[in-house]
C-alpha cells in the first residue's frame, strides 16, 4: 500500500470534520474492501479515518417496531444478536453466511451498506425489508440509497451512522455463492412487512442489487414458493462472467426467490 495519514477519531463529528477537510481522505470501518484495495495499490487515499473508535456507531437496539443497528456493528454481532434473532431471524441468518469467521468479526454492516458491492448481502436485505439508512446528515430510504454498482446516495464525506429496519411479519433469504469468491452469485431476500411484500436480489443484476417488482406482486397475491417459481427475469438486466452467464443468473434469481419464500415460511 501507499503511505497515508491515519486518524482515529472518537466521535462522528470529528470523523466528519476530518473527511470534510480532506477530499482525498477515506473512512474505514472493517476494512474488508478498502484494505485489500490498499494492499493491491488500487487506491491511494491521502488519509484513512478509522471509525472503530467511535462508540456512538455501535450497538443494536429495538425502538418499538424498528430495529436500529449501529453502522460499526460487525456481521458476527448481527448474526448473534438476540434482538435481531427474535425480530428478524432471516437477517441474523444472512449475516451468518457473510464471508468467513474472520470477515464476520471484522466487517461491519455500515461498511457493507456504504460500499454497496453488487455481490454483498445487506443491500438486498435492506431493500426488501424497507430499511432506512441514517447518516450524519439525514435519513435515506434503502430504495433511494442504493443507486447501482458501488454507487449510493452518500455525498462526499457523509457517513452512515445507523440502519433502521422495521420488524417484518416474515422474511427469508437464499443465495447461491460464487464458487471462487463465495460472494453471492444470486441471492434473494423476501419480506412481508409494514411496507408490504418486497423482494430484492443481489449478485445477479447488471446494475447492482435490485427490487423484483413482478415477484412482489405475485407474492402479495399468493405468498408461496410456487407464486414466484414461474417468473422469469430478463437476462438482459443480469450480469454475466466466467462463473455464469446472464441467463444462468436470471434463472438463479427465480430459484433463490422460491427458496427464500420457503425459508420465510
Amino acid at each position: 500500500m501507499y503511505d497515508f495519514t491515519y486518524h482515529k477519531p472518537s466521535s462522528v463529528a470529528d470523523a466528519v470534520k476530518l473527511l470534510a477537510a480532506d477530499p482525498d481522505a477515506r473512512p474505514i470501518s472493517g476494512g474488508m474492501t478498502l484494505l485489500p484495495a490498499l494492499k493491491l495499490r488500487l487506491n491511494k487515499p491521502s488519509a484513512v479515518v478509522d471509525l472503530s473508535g467511535i462508540a456512538e456507531l455501535r450497538g443494536i437496539r429495538r425502538e418499538g417496531s424498528t430495529i436500529v443497528i449501529g453502522a460499526m456493528t460487525k456481521h458476527y454481532e448481527v448474526a448473534t444478536s438476540p434482538e435481531i434473532k427474535s425480530a428478524i431471524p432471516a437477517l441474523a441468518a444472512m449475516a451468518a453466511t457473510i464471508g468467513d469467521t474472520q470477515v464476520r468479526n471484522r466487517g461491519t454492516m455500515g461498511g457493507s451498506v456504504a460500499n454497496n458491492d453488487p455481490s454483498a448481502d445487506y443491500p438486498a436485505a435492506l431493500l426488501a425489508l424497507g430499511g432506512t439508512i441514517q447518516t450524519d446528515k439525514r435519513k435515506i430510504s434503502a430504495d433511494d440509497f442504493f443507486q447501482g454498482v458501488f454507487a449510493t446516495a452518500l455525498e462526499m464525506g457523509e457517513l452512515v451512522t445507523a440502519i433502521h429496519i422495521p420488524v417484518p411479519e416474515k422474511a427469508g433469504y437464499a443465495k447461491m455463492r460464487n464458487p471462487a469468491s463465495r460472494y453471492s452469485m444470486a441471492g434473494v431476500f423476501v419480506a412481508k412487512g409494514p411496507h408490504g411484500v418486497r423482494v430484492a436480489a443481489n449478485g445477479a443484476g447488471a446494475n447492482g442489487s435490485f427490487r423484483v417488482k413482478e415477484m412482489e406482486a405475485a407474492l402479495a397475491a399468493n405468498w408461496s414458493p410456487e407464486a414466484v417459481a414461474g417468473i422469469k427475469l430478463d437476462p438482459f438486466l443480469m450480469n454475466g462472467d466466467i462463473h455464469g452467464s446472464a441467463e444462468y443468473r436470471a434463472h438463479l434469481v427465480t430459484v433463490m426467490a422460491k427458496r427464500a419464500v420457503a425459508e420465510a415460511g
Partner: protein, 795 residues
C-alpha cells in the same frame, strides 16, 4: 518396572514430529528468515502477453528514496548470465530435437506472457522497491498474442519464439502405429472421445520466496528458497545461469509450505536475487504476493486430446490411439517437456491389457505462464482420459462399466507385465483393489441410495481404476529418454557416539511428514526411538547431495538410499561387535538395535557399538576406521507402480447445477505402508486437489492472454466444505525392486479422483443424454446441460 515402548517402526501411525512446530506457528519458512543488512527486491512484470520492449527508462526510479539498484535483462546479458535451462530434451518423430528457445532471466527485447519479469528494483524496504518499480517507464509495442493452443497453431499465428516455427516445441510419438492400425482394422467397434484437461494454478499456501546473499570475504553465495530440491537448484543455477561453482554456492530450502510440483523448477527470481546480491553486496529478499504467484508459478495440465479405443465383440480392448496437444506456455519450464510425453503417454495402458497403443503429442508454445508438472504430472491427464473413455466405451458397448474394466484388467499373475508403451509393471492386483473399493463404497447399495436421494437431487456414482508411475528411474534409462539429470537419491545415516541418529536426506519435505516417516525407518531397522532420530534435509551445506522430492519418490528412492546406508552401518557394526564380543563376524546377528552372537547370550546394543566406534580404545583399528556414519546413493531399477480404485458419489441440485461430492472412497495400493496416518492424509490431500480439478479449478485466459481467473476471487480453490468424508484404505502388493517394497502415495489422490468424480457426475445426469462433460463441472455448466442450454451444453 516395565516401560512400555510404543511400536514406532514400519506400520505405526506415529504422530508427525513436525506438526508441533507447524501448528504453533514456529515453522521457519523462507520469508521468516531475515538476514543482517537485508534489502528487498520487487520485480516489474509485463502487463502484456506479447510485446516488444522498445525501451526501459529507469532514471526516475533510480533516484527514488531507498533504491540501491535496478537491473534489466540488458544488465544480465552484459555479464553473460545464462538463460533458465530446461532439464529434459524431447526428440520429435523425425529425430530432430525439440525447439528450445532461450529463456532469459529478465526479458530481453520481448515479453512473452503477462508476468514475464522485465526489471528488478533493489531497495532498503519493499515499499520503496515497489514505489520505484512503478516509476520505471517501459515502452512496449504490443504484439498480437497466441493465448490458446488453437490460436498458436492457427495459420499466420503470432510467432512467439524465433526458433520455434509455428509455435511448435515438438511433435513426438510413442508406440507402434502400424500395429495400432491393424488392430483397429479388425475392431468390432471404435469409440472416439475428445477432451480437454483443464489448466490449473498450483496455489501452494506459501508463496514462493527467495533470499540471495553474498559474502565478499569468501566469495560465497547463499540462496534461501522455497524449493522442493535445493541441490537441483544449485546445479542448474550454478552451472547454467550464474556460473558459480558448487563449492561457492549454498542453497537452503527451509520449511516449505506446499509445493505440488510448482517448487521443483528453477525460477528467474532465484537467479535474480543471488546474482544481484553479488552486485549490491547485501542480502536481498523477494517474496511473491498471491497475484505474482498466479502469473509466475508454473501452471499444470492443459491438454487437448482426441482418443480412439478399438474393442472386439467380447468387450476386450484391441488398441488405443491418442492424439494430444500439450500447452508449454511461453517458455520451457525445467521439466515441462517430459510431462506430456514420458509421464503421460507411457501411462496410457493404465491397468488394462491393451495390446497396442499409439500416441502422438504435439507440444505448443503460447503467450501464457509456463506449464510444468503439478501433483501427478502427466499421469492425471492419462488417467482422466482413460477412465472417462472406459465409461464412455462401456456405455456405447452396452456393458457394465465395472465388468468392462474387470474384463480388461491385467491379471494378478501377469507380473512383471510389459506394456506396449515402454513401462514394465512389477506388481499389482487391480481386482483386489477394485473389489475392496466396491465393498467399502457399497457400490451394490447405490441404486437404493439413488432412490432415496434428497428431494429433487440427482445422485450418481463413478469409478476410476487407475495406475500411476512413481520414483521415475533408472538414471540410465531416463537419460536415454532425454533427462539431463540423474534420478537417484542420497541418504546419510550418522550414528552419534551415544547411539542417537541423524539422517541426512536429499529428499525434501514440504508437507509430506518426512521427519516422521524417515525416523520410523531408522526406528524399525536400527531400533532407535523416533525421538532420538533427527532428519536433516533442504540444505546443500549439510546434505551430501540429492535430487529432491517430486513424483512421489521420497520414500521409494530416498528411503531406499537410507536403507542401503543403514545396511552399511549394520555391516560395520557387526565387525565392531565381533571384535568386542570376540566372535567371528559371521556369527553376529543384528535385530532392531541389538547385536548378538548367535547361539550365546552375548549381546551389545547399537549404543555400545557406536561408543566404541567414536572412542576406539578397544577397536579393530587396523582393519576398520573409527566412526559410524555411512552414505548411500540409490538408483532404482524401475519406476514403482501404485494403483487402485476410487469411487465417488455425487448429488446434483438440478435447479442450480451445483454438484456435491457426498462420499468418496479410495482403496490404493501404495506398496508397503510405513505410517498409515500419513498415507491417509496424503491421499485425502490429493483427493481434495482432484475434486478441485473436477469441479472447481480452471485457469482461463482471454484471447489477449490476460489471465481472467488471476486471483482467488475468480480461481476456485477447493475448501473444506467442498469436500466429502474421504474413506481411505490400502491393499498392498509389494514393489519388487526396492528394499522397502514401497511405491509412493503423494499423488494417487490427485490422479485417481478426477475421473471418478466426473464419471459420477455423468452418471447422475444419465437421464439427460449426456455423453461427456468437461472439467470443471461448475454449477453454470451443469445447469446449461440440464436446461438444454445453448452452446456450453455440448462441451
Amino acid at each position: 518396572m516395565n516401560v512400555v515402548v510404543p511400536f514406532e517402526g514400519i506400520g505405526a501411525s506415529v504422530r508427525r514430529k513436525e506438526d508441533l512446530r507447524f501448528l504453533s506457528g514456529r515453522g521457519q519458512y523462507t520469508d521468516d528468515i531475515n538476514r543482517p543488512g537485508q534489502t528487498h527486491a520487487v520485480i516489474l512484470r509485463s502487463p502484456h502477453a506479447h510485446a516488444e520492449i522498445k525501451g526501459i527508462d529507469i532514471a526516475a526510479a533510480k533516484a527514488m528514496p531507498g533504491v540501491l539498484a535496478i537491473f534489466t535483462g540488458a544488465d544480465m546479458a552484459a555479464e553473460n548470465i545464462g538463460g533458465l535451462p530446461c532439464g529434459w530434451q524431447i526428440h520429435s518423430k523425425d529425430g530432430s530435437p525439440m525447439a528450445e528457445p532461450p529463456h532469459p532471466v529478465l526479458a530481453v527485447g520481448k515479453v512473452r506472457h503477462v508476468g514475464d519479469p522485465v526489471a528488478v528494483v533493489i531497495a532498503e524496504t519493499k515499499q520503496q522497491a515497489r514505489d520505484a518499480a512503478e516509476a520505471i517507464a517501459v515502452e512496449y509495442a504490443v504484439l498480437p498474442a497466441a493465448a490458446t493452443m488453437e490460436q498458436a497453431l492457427a495459420p499466420g499465428a503470432p510467432q512467439i519464439h524465433e526458433g520455434a516455427p509455428g509455435n511448435l516445441c515438438y511433435d513426438w510419438h510413442i508406440g507402434d502405429r502400424a500395429a495400432q492400425e491393424a488392430a483397429f482394422a479388425r475392431a468390432h467397434k471404435v469409440i472416439t472421445f475428445e477432451t480437454t484437461n483443464n489448466r490449473l494454478v498450483p496455489n501452494a499456501m506459501e508463496p514462493r520466496s527467495a533470499i540471495g546473499e553474498y559474502d565478499s570475504t569468501s566469495g560465497d553465495y547463499t540462496l534461501f528458497t522455497t524449493s522442493q530440491n535445493p541441490h537441483v537448484i544449485r546445479l542448474l543455477m550454478g552451472a547454467f545461469v550464474l556460473h558459480i561453482p558448487e563449492a561457492r554456492l549454498r542453497v537452503v530450502a527451509p520449511d516449505v509450505g506446499g509445493g505440488f510440483g510448482s517448487k521443483i523448477y528453477h525460477y528467474a527470481e532465484e537467479a535474480i536475487v543471488t546474482w544481484a546480491a553479488g552486485k549490491v553486496k547485501r542480502p536481498i529478499k523477494w517474496t511473491a504476493d498471491r497475484t505474482e504467484s498466479f502469473m509466475s508459478d508454473a501452471h499444470g495440465r492443459d491438454h487437448i486430446t482426441k482418443a480412439e479405443l478399438a474393442v472386439d465383440a467380447q468387450g476386450k480392448i484391441l488398441g488405443l490411439k491418442v492424439h494430444t496437444h500439450a500447452n508449454m506456455g511461453a517458455y520451457l519450464s525445467t521439466f515441462a517437456p517430459c510431462v506430456p510425453t514420458y509421464l503421460y503417454a507411457t501411462l496410457l495402458a493404465g491397468v488394462y491389457t491393451t495390446p497396442v497403443i499409439y500416441a502422438e503429442v504435439k507440444a505448443v508454445f503460447t503467450n501464457t505462464v509456463p506449464v510444468d508438472a503439478y501433483r501427478g504430472a502427466g499421469r492425471p491427464e492419462a488417467t482422466y482420459l482413460l477412465e472417462r473413455l472406459m465409461d464412455v466405451a462401456a456405455k456405447e458397448l452396452g456393458l457394465d462399466r465395472v465388468e468392462f474394466r474387470r474384463k480388461n484388467f491385467i491379471p494378478p499373475d501377469a507380473f512383471p507385465y510389459q506394456t506396449p508403451v515402454a513401462l514394465q509393471y512389477d506388481s499389482g492386483n487391480y481386482h483386489a483393489t477394485l473389489d475392496a473399493c466396491l465393498e467399502a463404497a457399497d457400490w451394490k447399495g447405490f441404486e437404493a441410495r439413488r432412490a432415496a436421494a434428497a428431494k429433487g437431487k440427482l445422485r450418481g456414482i463413478g469409478i476410476s481404476t487407475y495406475l500411476e508411475a512413481c520414483g521415475i528411474a533408472p538414471s540410465a534409462v531416463v537419460g536415454s529418454l532425454g533427462a539431463r539429470a540423474g534420478l537417484y537419491e542420497v541418504g546419510t545415516i550418522r550414528v552419534h557416539p551415544t547411539g542417537s541418529v541423524t539422517v541426512l536426506t536429499g529428499a525434501h519435505s514440504h508437507g509430506q511428514g518426512h521427519e516422521t516417516t524417515f525416523a520410523q525407518l531408522v526406528a524399525d531397522r536400527l531400533g532407535v526411538p523416533v525421538a532420538q532420530v533427527d532428519v536433516v534435509h533442504g540444505d546443500t551445506a549439510k546434505v551430501p547431495f540429492g535430487m529432491g522430492t517430486y513424483g512421489s519418490r521420497s520414500l521409494a528412492v530416498g528411503g531406499s538410499a537410507m536403507v542401503k546406508a543403514m545396511d552399511k552401518i549394520i555391516a560395520k557394526g557387526k565387525r565392531i561387535a565381533a571384535h568386542l564380543m570376540e566372535a567371528s563376524v559371521e556369527d553376529v546377528e543384528f535385530d532392531r538395535g541389538i547385536f548378538r552372537v548367535a547361539g550365546t547370550d552375548k549381546s551389545k546394543t547399537l549404543a555400545d557399538i557406536s561408543l566404541a566406534a567414536y572412542v576406539p580404545h578397544n577397536y579393530p583399528i587396523e582393519e576398520l576406521e573409527p566412526g559410524l556414519e555411512e552414505t548411500a546413493f540409490y538408483d532404482p531399477k524401475n519406476f514403482t507402480y501404485p494403483g487402485g480404485c476410487h469411487v465417488a458419489e455425487v448429488e446434483i441440485d438440478p435447479e442450480t447445477g451445483k454438484v456435491e461430492v457426498v462420499n468418496f472412497t479410495a482403496v490404493d495400493d501404495v506398496g508397503r505402508v510405513i505410517n498409515p496416518m500419513i498415507v491417509e492424509g496424503q491421499v485425502q490431500g490429493g483427493v481434495a486437489q482432484g475434486i478441485g480439478q473436477a469441479l472447481l479449478e480452471n485457469a482461463i485466459y482471454d484471447q489477449q492472454g490476460q489471465l481472467l481467473s488471476g486471483s482467488l476471487m475468480d480461481y476456485s480453490m477447493p475448501r473444506a466444505d467442498d469436500l466429502p468424508p474421504v474413506g481411505v484404505a490400502t491393499h498392498t502388493t509389494l514393489c519388487t525392486h526396492n528394499p522397502l517394497g514401497v511405491k509412493g502415495c503423494g499423488e494417487v489422490g490427485a490422479i485417481g479422483s478426477p475421473p471418478a468424480v466426473m464419471n459420477a457426475v455423468v452418471d447422475a445426469l444419465r437421464d439427460y443424454g449426456v455423453r461427456h462433460i468437461e472439467m470443471p463441472a461448475t454449477p453454470a455448466k451443469i445447469w446449461n446441460i440440464i436446461h438444454g442450454g445453448r452452446r456450453m451444453a455440448a462441451e
